[in-house]
């Protein structure tokens, strides 16, 4: 049974990111030049910002899986709200410094609902969107989020490309 062609590309990319493969760059100078140009235009070379609210959809040909990390619960950790925001931003910056696309937002406590009511609509405190090689990797990253250490819950959902 033939697997999806994109799986091969994703696997190669993940292995390269993990340092388990050597890229054959010298064979594709034109592809390298195009990749650098596309990356610059997409803002990837300016990564480090954690408030990229206009995170591009998978334009530029990227088929790296994306995941939403949904932060629920207040958490009982100490420190001020500002300390918490700073901590969460620092977590995202560390990921970005490793070469990963990541963005996130804090949500206000009040929630307006259109449609049937859902339980705990106001319990969602914030979210992050990030690239990960697999759901397993996204789960491992989620486990390192400071929200968990403060007693909150981080739900990982895979984003389906449309």
């Amino acid at each position: 049974m033939e697997p999806p062609p994109a799986l091969e590309r994703r696997t190669v990319r993940a292995l390269r990111s993990a340092g388990l493969l050597r890229a054959v760059w010298w064979r594709r100078p034109a592809a390298v030049a195009a990749l650098v140009a596309a990356a610059f235009l997409a803002g990837w070379l300016t990564r480090g910002s954690t408030r990229d609210a206009s995170l591009p959809p998978q334009a530029g040909g990227s088929d790296s899986p994306r995941f939403a990390l949904l932060l629920y619960g207040e958490g009982a950790g100490g420190g001020s709200e500002q300390d918490r925001v700073r901590e969460y931003r620092e977590w995202a910056r560390r990921l970005a410094s490793e070469g990963r696309r990541v963005s996130g937002e804090k949500l206000a406590e009040d929630a307006a609902v259109a449609g049937p009511a859902v339980p705990n609509a106001g319990g969602l405190r914030g979210f992050f969107i990030l690239d990960a090689a697999s759901e397993g990797e996204a789960r491992r990253i989620a486990a390192t989020h400071p929200h968990v250490r403060h007693g909150g819950t981080v739900v990982v959902r895979r984003i389906v490309p449309t």
């Binding site: 799986l7 091969e8 994703r10 696997t11 292995l15 388990l20 050597r22 890229a23």
Partner: protein, 171 residues
């Protein structure tokens, strides 16, 4: 075996340079089998692609320690089975009491659905033994159970599938 010889050559070539080309040859030689196994073990549910990708990540990280005590494909499929196990929900095994009778009122269904309806552990035993040719000792090692459990689960899984297919008696 011819495949073993070619696998040894591919692995040696990969370990020498860790080139993308060498990996892609290994990938294309084994991923269709690994992917099909993941799909069947997961009952056609989502996650097969992630399982296969994770399996390759783990295998490549450990490839230099592989001692050829089994076929390369058998070793690779071990990672697939473990990855699928992490995704199983609910009871994994056929219950001890006789559940070979199909639920009352349920019409006969085709083979694929009958297998997919099994608990995931029992399904894995059935597929690994009857479809992929693993021995009970290999299955027991992969799934972390006793050989006797593999044998009894295979027997119950076959009986359950036969009952759901509406067939009577031993094949």
């Amino acid at each position: 075996m011819e495949r073993d010889g070619s696998d040894r050559a591919l692995v040696a070539r990969f370990l020498a340079r860790r080139s993308e080309d060498a990996f892609v040859r290994l990938y294309r030689a084994h991923t269709p089998f690994m992917y099909a196994m993941a799909l069947r073990l997961l009952g056609g549910r989502t996650g097969a692609e992630d399982v296969v990708q994770d399996a390759w990540m783990k295998a490549i990280a450990r490839l230099d320690t592989f001692r050829w005590e089994s076929a390369l494909r058998t070793w690779l499929c071990g990672f697939v089975v473990n990855g699928c196990r992490e995704r199983w929900r609910g009871p994994e095994w056929m219950p001890m009491d006789d559940t070979s009778a199909a639920p009352p009122g349920e019409p006969s269904i085709d083979l694929e659905r009958a297998v997919a309806a099994l608990p995931p552990g029992a399904r894995a035993v059935l597929l690994l033994h009857d479809l992929h040719g693993y021995t009970h000792a290999e299955i027991a090692s992969l799934l972390g159970v006793e050989t006797g459990t593999s044998k009894s689960q295979l027997s119950r899984a076959r009986a359950s599938v036969r009952a759901r297919l509406g067939k009577a008696g031993e094949p």
